[in-house]
């Protein structure tokens, strides 16, 4: 797969799981960020095709980073990946422009299906 994927998560273990799943899905162009500041810089400089974004980061613990990314690039494909399962926050994320929300812990099959759906424009 040619798509560049940006994985944003401060937890090394969580990034490892995501990376493994992405590799299994054929994604070999994956970049990582561990803070909101780093994520925003990579989002602007690397122009990823897809962003997998955790809500809880050391320097961002709400939807501000998502909103900043959507403001920068309104057609960005961003999937929230978070342990947060509160429906209000999930709704907020989708209203803010996220294409999908994957709640941790997730299965690899569900994870990849969602990614492919978003990349192919089946989730809006």
């Amino acid at each position: 797969m040619d798509e560049k994927v940006l994985v944003v998560d401060d937890a090394k273990f969580a990034r490892k799981i995501a990376l493994k799943a992405l590799q299994n899905g054929g994604f070999d162009n994956v970049i990582q960020a561990t803070t909101a500041a780093e994520a925003m810089e990579m989002f602007e400089n690397e122009n990823p095709d897809l962003v997998l974004l955790d809500i809880t980061l050391p320097d961002n613990s709400d939807l501000t980073l998502l909103e900043r990314m959507m403001q920068k690039k309104p057609d960005a494909k961003i999937i929230m990946t978070s342990a947060i399962g509160q429906e209000l926050i999930i709704d907020d994320s989708l209203h803010a422009g996220a294409k999908a929300f994957i709640t941790k812990p997730y299965g690899e099959k569900e994870f990849l299906e969602t990614i492919f759906d978003v990349l192919e424009g089946r989730k809006e």
Partner: protein, 207 residues
């Protein structure tokens, strides 16, 4: 609604509501724990006490415990604290690694523990959020390996820096395996909102 009565005790209706939130919070967390660990969680009776009573807890830990702090953000102030027996945490790390089929080196184990706490906390707050209609955000604030009673002393000192009145909703839990083996008191999940945050949590449930 007054959180404390004229004699400084937690109002009985407030106690009941917080008790229920502790119950449903850990109830939801038990589902997540079951998925991760393949075990049943037996939930203890939530204790609702003012934070200054935390330091009178008689936790004579004979082993190290892992304490994980998550601070409330945005609309609420206070913390979620997880105090987990070390042997249980070692098992969590093993199970999570097995589940995801990844091996973790020593540096990654802390990350695994933090991620575990994230998931359990999120499940807990999902239940509380559903009851109250409040969006609850948290941020990891620290992870320590030490005796449990030290953690609770720190909790008191830490919360006291920011707000002198907070309420502790402490729910302990045990673990039961498929072979009927039960390990008692493997951990505590403590919701520690300050007084103003308790008002916000209670208000939607008192209407």
């Amino acid at each position: 609604m007054k959180i404390f009565d004229s004699e400084g005790y937690i109002d009985s209706e407030v106690q009941e509501i917080l008790y229920e939130l502790g119950n449903v919070g850990l109830g939801m967390a038990s589902i997540t724990l079951g998925r991760i660990m393949g075990v049943r969680m037996h939930i203890g009776v939530p204790k609702v006490i003012p934070v200054n009573e935390l330091i009178t807890y008689n936790l004579e830990s004979v082993e190290d415990e892992v304490s994980i702090w998550m601070d409330f953000q945005k609309t609420l102030s206070g913390s979620m604290i997880f105090v987990l027996k070390r042997h249980f945490v070692d098992e969590v790390v093993q199970k999570m690694g097995d589940r995801e089929k990844v091996e973790c080196d020593e540096t990654e184990k802390i990350s695994v523990i933090q991620e575990f706490a994230n998931m359990i906390c999120a499940a807990y707050l999902k239940a509380v959020g559903q009851y109250t209609g409040i969006r609850m955000y948290v941020k990891p604030a620290g992870l320590e390996i030490q005796k449990g009673n030290i953690t609770l002393k720190q909790a008191y000192e830490r919360i006291d820096d920011s707000c002198h009145k907070a309420i502790c909703v402490d729910t302990g839990f045990s673990i039961a395996y498929d072979n009927k083996k039960v390990i008692d008191d493997v951990g505590h999940v403590i919701m520690l909102p300050d007084e103003k945050s308790v008002e916000k949590l209670i208000e939607p449930l008192c209407k």
